[in-house]
C-alpha cells in the first residue's frame, strides 16, 4: 500500500498544496456536513412519509441506539487515521460485555472494580495489537485479525460459549433512564463527542497522528514518537470497544460473546462514509461521528418502515460506495 499516492496522483499533489491547517480542516468538513445533512434529510423525509415518526422520543431513541457505533467508531477512526485497521473490535466489544456481566452477576456491589477492570482488560488487548503493529512490524490487518480470533477463543474457553449473566442494574438503569427528559446516554454521547473531537482535531497528539498517517517516512524523520503513539491509538481503540461492550451489555441487559460482531463492519463503514481514506492520514472526527449517526438513523428508519434486514444491508453497502464516489468527485474537483 506504499504506492497509494502513485495510484492516485491527484491525492499526492494535494498533500503538497495543503499549507495551512485551517484550509485543510475546511476542506475535510464538506463530507461530514454532507452526511449530517443526509441524516437530517432521512429524519425529515420519514416525518413527511409518516407523521408519527420523528417525535422527540424517537429522536432520542435513535441517539441511544447510536451510542454504540459512535463510541466504537472513534477508536476505529483513530486506527484508520494511522493507516491501520482494527478487526478485533467486534471481539473486544463481546469480551467487554461478557466481563462486566460475569463480574457483576446482576448486582451493583462489584461495579466499583468491575468497570475499571473490564476497561483495563480491553485496553490490554488493544495494547497487544499496538505492540504487534509498532514493535513486531506485522501488518495491522493481520495483527488485529489474529488477536480477534485468539481472544475470541480465550473468551469461549472462559465462558464455555453460553453464559449470559444479568448485568448490574445500575448500567441497565443508565441506558434506560432520563434526566430532565433526556436519556442519560445522550449526555454521554455529547461528552464523548467533545472529548473525541478535542483529541483528534484540536490536540498536538491528534496532529501527530495525521502526520504519521499521511506520511510515515516524513514523520519518522521529524522524530515523532511513532511507536508509542501507534500503541496508544490501538489501546484507545480497545478501550472504546470495551466501553461499547459495557454499554451494549447494559442496553440488552445480558451479554453474548458474539454481540459485537455486528458492529465491526459498520464501525469501518462509518469512518469511510465520513470522508476518511482507509489508507490513512485524512478525515476528521466530525466525519466519523456523522457516519455513525447516519448509519444508526438509517438502521432505525428501515426498522420503522418494517423493511427486511436484507434491504438495510443492501442500502448500507450502496451508501458506502456512493460516499466513495462522491469523495472521488470532490477530490478531482479540487485538484483541477
Amino acid at each position: 500500500m506504499t504506492d497509494k499516492d502513485l495510484a492516485n496522483p491527484s491525492q499526492a499533489t494535494e498533500f503538497g498544496l495543503r499549507s495551512s491547517r485551517r484550509q485543510w480542516i475546511g476542506s475535510e468538513i464538506v463530507p461530514a456536513l454532507t452526511v449530517f445533512a443526509a441524516t437530517a434529510l432521512l429524519v425529515v423525509g420519514m416525518k413527511i412519509a409518516n407523521p408519527s415518526f420523528g417525535s422527540f422520543e424517537q429522536i432520542t431513541a435513535i441517539l441511544v441506539t447510536a451510542i454504540f457505533l459512535v463510541v466504537a467508531s472513534f477508536g476505529q477512526g483513530l486506527v484508520i487515521l494511522l493507516g491501520g485497521i482494527d478487526l478485533s473490535l467486534g471481539v473486544i466489544i463481546g469480551i467487554g460485555g461478557m466481563m462486566i456481566a460475569e463480574w457483576t452477576h446482576g448486582s451493583n456491589d462489584a461495579l466499583l472494580y468491575a468497570i475499571p477492570l473490564t476497561l483495563l482488560c480491553c485496553l490490554g488487548i488493544g495494547l497487544i495489537n499496538g505492540l504487534g503493529v509498532a514493535i513486531a512490524g506485522i501488518p495491522p490487518f493481520i495483527v488485529t485479525l489474529a488477536s480477534g480470533i485468539t481472544f475470541y477463543g480465550v473468551g469461549l474457553g472462559f465462558t464455555a460459549g453460553n453464559s449470559q449473566q444479568p448485568v448490574a442494574p445500575a448500567i441497565q438503569h443508565f441506558m434506560s433512564s432520563r434526566w430532565l427528559g433526556v436519556p442519560y446516554p445522550v449526555y454521554f454521547i455529547v461528552v464523548f463527542v467533545v472529548i473525541a473531537w478535542l483529541f483528534q482535531n484540536r490536540s498536538a497528539e491528534g496532529r501527530k497522528l495525521y502526520a504519521i498517517g499521511s506520511s510515515p517516512g516524513a514523520a519518522r524523520i521529524l522524530g515523532l514518537p511513532m511507536a508509542p503513539l501507534t500503541i496508544a491509538v490501538y489501546a484507545i481503540s480497545g478501550l472504546c470497544a470495551g466501553i461499547t461492550g459495557i454499554l451494549l451489555a447494559g442496553y440488552s441487559s445480558s451479554a453474548t460473546l458474539d454481540m459485537g460482531n455486528a458492529l465491526l463492519m459498520p464501525s469501518i463503514a462509518a469512518v469511510v462514509i465520513g470522508g476518511a481514506r482507509v489508507t490513512g492520514g485524512s478525515g476528521i472526527y466530525l466525519g466519523t461521528l456523522a457516519g455513525a449517526l447516519f448509519l444508526s438513523t438509517l438502521s432505525t428508519v428501515i426498522t420503522t418502515l418494517s423493511l427486511s434486514q436484507g434491504f438495510r444491508d443492501l442500502v448500507q453497502g450502496g451508501v458506502i460506495i456512493i460516499a466513495l464516489l462522491l469523495q472521488r468527485g470532490r477530490l478531482n474537483l479540487r485538484s483541477r
Binding site: M1, A7, L87, I142, G310, D313, I320
Partner: protein, 324 residues
C-alpha cells in the same frame, strides 16, 4: 529490470509456501498418528471435503491480494451463490443452470469491484466492504431465513467420487493446474508486477487497470465456485452462514506466505494455508483439545506464519543486496 525483481520476489515467495506445506505435513502426520482412519480414502476424502470451500475462496482472495488490493466481498458472493443454488437448483433451472447463474453472479460482483477500484481509483478495502455488506443484503432478500433445497445431483455429485477419486480432489487439482498455467502466462506475470511496484509495471507497458480488473473478476468467479461447492456440502441455503468465512480466508492467505502488500506469495501457499487451518481443527480434536481452543491456535499460527514469512523474505533479500 521489473522482471528481475519479480523473479527475486517469487523466489522469496517459495519460502513461505514451502514452510506452509511443511507445517501442513507435520500437522497431518500428528493427526494421522492419533486417528488411523485419516489415511484411508474415506478419511482423505472427508478432509478434502472440509478444506475445499475455504481453499477455493482463499484462492480467489489471493488473486486480488497479489496485485496489491484487498477484497472483502468473498463471503458476500458465497452467500448469494448459496441462496441462489438453494432456491433455483431444484426448480426449472436445474443443476447446470444454477451453476451458470452462480458464475454470472461472481462475474458481476467481481467486475463491479474491479471497475470501481481499477478504473475509478477507489480504495479497494472500502469498496469491497461496501459490496460485502450489499451482497449479504441481497442474499437475505433472496432467502430471508435458512431453508431451500439443493438438488441431489449437486449435493451428491460434488461430495462424491468420480472413478473412486473424490471430487474435491479433482477440484483442487484443477485449481493447481489453472494456477500453474496462469503464473506462466503474461497476465500472471502482470499480476505480480502490478502488486510489486505499480509505477514500474505501468512504465514497462503493462496495463494496470486491466490487470486489476482481471484479478477481481477471477476472485469473484472463485468465490462463486466456492459458494456452489459449499451449497452442495450443506444441502440447503443459509444467507448468514458465510459471515465467519472472511477471517479464515485472510488467515489462509496469510499463513500461506502471501504478502498483504501484494506482489509476493501465490495460490500454492494459500492452498497449504487452507489445509493447515482445517487439519489444525482435526488434529486438536484428535488430541482431545477442547473445540473452542482451536481459535487460539488459529490466531497464534497466523502470527507465527507472518513472522516466519517476514524473516524468510528478509533472508531472501539480503544476498541480493550484497551482490549489487
Amino acid at each position: 529490470m521489473a522482471g528481475d525483481t519479480v523473479r527475486n520476489r517469487r523466489k522469496a515467495l517459495g519460502n513461505g509456501a514451502v514452510a506452509a506445506a511443511g507445517l501442513l505435513i507435520v500437522m497431518f502426520a500428528v493427526y494421522a498418528s492419533h486417528q488411523p482412519t485419516a489415511l484411508t480414502l474415506f478419511g482423505v476424502g472427508n478432509l478434502l471435503n472440509n478444506t475445499i470451500v475455504l481453499a477455493l475462496a482463499a484462492t480467489g482472495l489471493t488473486f486480488a491480494i497479489l496485485c496489491g488490493e484487498f477484497d472483502l466481498s468473498g463471503p458476500g458472493v458465497i452467500a448469494i451463490a448459496n441462496v441462489v443454488v438453494a432456491t433455483t437448483s431444484a426448480g426449472s433451472l436445474g443443476a447446470a443452470g444454477s451453476f451458470g447463474l452462480v458464475l454470472l453472479i461472481g462475474l458481476v460482483v467481481g467486475g463491479l469491484n474491479g471497475i470501481l477500484v481499477a478504473y475509478l481509483g477507489l480504495q479497494s478495502l472500502a469498496v469491497t466492504l461496501g459490496s460485502l455488506i450489499a451482497c449479504q443484503g441481497v442474499a437475505l432478500l433472496i432467502l430471508p431465513a435458512p431453508g431451500g433445497q439443493v438438488v441431489d445431483s449437486i449435493a451428491y455429485g460434488i461430495t462424491g467420487n468420480i472413478m473412486s477419486v473424490p471430487v474435491p480432489a479433482l477440484l483442487l487439482a484443477l485449481t493447481i493446474v489453472f494456477w500453474l498455467l496462469l503464473r506462466q502466462s503474461r497476465m500472471g506475470l502482470a499480476i505480480y508486477a502490478v502488486g510489486t511496484d505499480q509505477a514500474a509495471a505501468g512504465l514497462s507497458g503493462l496495463n494496470i487497470r486491466t490487470t486489476k480488473l482481471f484479478a477481481f473478476v477471477l476472485a469473484g468467479l472463485f468465490y462463486a465456485i466456492a459458494g456452489f461447492v459449499f451449497s452442495a456440502e450443506i444441502g440447503s441455503g443459509d444467507p448468514r452462514i458465510s459471515d465467519s468465512f472472511l477471517l479464515f480466508m485472510f488467515a489462509a492467505v496469510a499463513i500461506g506466505g502471501t504478502s498483504l502488500f501484494g506482489g509476493r506469495g501465490g495460490v500454492l501457499g494459500t492452498l497449504a494455508g487452507a489445509g493447515i487451518l482445517t487439519v489444525l481443527q482435526k488434529m486438536l480434536f484428535a488430541l482431545g483439545v477442547a473445540d473452542f481452543y482451536t481459535n487460539i491456535f488459529n490466531g497464534i499460527i497466523m502470527i507465527l506464519a507472518i513472522l516466519f514469512g517476514q524473516a524468510s523474505a528478509y533472508l531472501a533479500r539480503r544476498p541480493e543486496r550484497r551482490g549489487t
